[in-house]
């Protein structure tokens, strides 16, 4: 298969305008453009729909309120009253990932959440923030997080390293989960799109039908991954408050 037909070609980054700052390449790329679109969609939607501030909401305002309540409920269910402070962050994270995934579902549009560096950066913000939060709340006692009470003492040499590793792998699992889902979904769509073109006569209809079904599934996954990202962030915040 030639390189230009590769299903991974859709993930290639093309600079739109070259910007260099010292030794760093800060080019505005198609990935940055997708982020820009995402941010514009979110800010404009959430601003314009709630513009009238009417008590009886319009349909669009209702959608904004639904999203607000969805994340507020999620946060209060997992973290409780302590979580209110982090609502803007979790909400921004959820919307950024969700709309980023959705923008990626537009044909020929770049999906920035399919890039490990982006998801890893987002997951690192969560991981570092939660770790700092844990130290602020519990000080040195935060290390008892790795100590599981009620286990025979001879198990601790085994369990504590496992706990430490699982804690440190949080940003990796969080970022790879999102990245791999997006990568796999879009690659699969592309592969089947290749079948549609290359299959003889009208048999291309079958992979096309599959693509239609798969697109629905991908939209579901786009939502689901944003939800998972948000709920895991909430759980990590909760862990920073209640060690066990």
């Amino acid at each position: 298969m030639a390189a230009k037909d590769s299903p991974l070609k859709q993930f290639e980054i093309d600079p739109i305008s070259n910007i260099e700052l010292g030794d760093y390449n800060l080019s505005f790329t198609n990935s940055s453009f997708a982020m820009l679109i995402t941010v514009l969609v979110i800010t404009l939607f959430l601003t314009l729909t709630v513009n009238t501030k009417s008590i009886i909401p319009s349909r669009m305002q209702l959608i904004s309120e639904l999203m607000y309540n969805f994340i507020a409920q999620l946060l209060s269910d997992t973290v409780g009253d302590n979580g209110k402070k982090y609502f803007p962050f979790v909400f921004s994270l959820f919307m950024f990932v969700l709309i980023g995934n959705m923008v990626g579902m537009i044909p020929y549009q770049f999906t920035f959440t399919s890039h490990i560096i982006v998801t890893f950066a987002l997951a690192s913000i969560v991981f570092i923030g939660v770790t700092i939060l844990g130290f602020v709340n519990h000080g040195i006692k935060f290390f008892t997080f790795f100590y599981i009470p009620g286990v025979p003492f001879y198990m601790h040499p085994l369990l504590i390293p496992i706990e430490v590793i699982s804690y440190l792998s949080r940003p990796i699992s969080l970022s790879v989960r999102l990245f791999a889902n997006m990568l796999a979904g879009h690659t699969l769509l592309k592969v089947f799109a290749g079948f549609v073109v290359s299959m003889p006569f009208f048999t291309g209809v079958f992979p096309l039908a599959f693509i239609v079904a798969l697109t629905g599934l991908e939209i579901l996954i786009a939502f689901l991954q944003a939800y998972v990202f948000a709920i895991l962030t909430c759980l990590y915040i909760n862990d920073a408050y209640h060690l066990h």
Binding site: L8, K9, F11, E12, I13, P15, I19, Y24, N25, L26, S27, F28, T29, S31, S32, M35, L36, T38, V39, I42, T43, L46, T47, V50, K53, S54, I55, P57, Q61, S64, E65, Y68, N69, F87, P88, F89, F91, S92, M95, F96, F112, S114, H115, I116, I117, V118, A121, L122, F179, L183
Partner: protein, 163 residues
């Protein structure tokens, strides 16, 4: 795999930082407070309406109570009125009956007196007629001429014998 090409890592991170911080600050400072105020406003409005409804319900209950009270009062009053009227009517009827009875008794006794008087006078007339008839009869069958006195005495003697 283009994802592992570090050529654009810095650029991606830079723009991610720019856009995500913009989004976070914008939502935190502008969008979310707006939605929060709307939600709060609605919550307050609903609570206000609910409390108003409760108040109105209580008022309605009070009014209903008053109405029931008034209806009961009116019922009692009418009952009393009816009882009063009935007893007064009964009094009137009985007093009227009494007067009628008395009048009737009077009339009856008067009539009885009249009857007795009439009988007496009739009896006297009969006596006279008997004397007369006796006189005439005796004169016809004999030559005796009896005076009224004789006849009356004879009748008295006979009456005495009969009695």
């Amino acid at each position: 795999m283009p994802q592992l090409n570090p050529e654009f890592f810095v650029s991606q991170l830079f723009w991610l930082a720019v856009f995500f911080s913009f989004l976070l600050i914008f939502l935190w400072r502008i969008s979310l407070p707006r939605i929060a105020t709307v939600l709060e406003k609605r919550h307050n409005k609903i609570n206000e309406n609910l409390s108003n409804a409760k108040e109105l319900q209580e008022q309605a209950k009070e009014i209903e109570k008053n109405i029931n009270l008034q209806i009961n009062n009116a019922k009692q009053k009418t009952d009393e009125q009816i009882k009063k009227t009935i007893s007064s009517l009964q009094d009137e009827v009985s007093s009227k009956l009494n007067t009628i009875d008395r009048e009737l008794e009077e009339k009856i006794s008067n009539s009885e007196k009249q009857i007795i008087k009439n009988r007496d006078s009739q009896m006297k007339n009969i006596n006279d007629e008997i004397a007369n008839i006796t006189k005439i009869t005796v004169a016809k069958i004999s030559d005796l001429k009896l005076s009224d006195n004789d006849i009356n005495q004879a009748i008295k003697i006979l009456k005495g014998k009969l009695n």
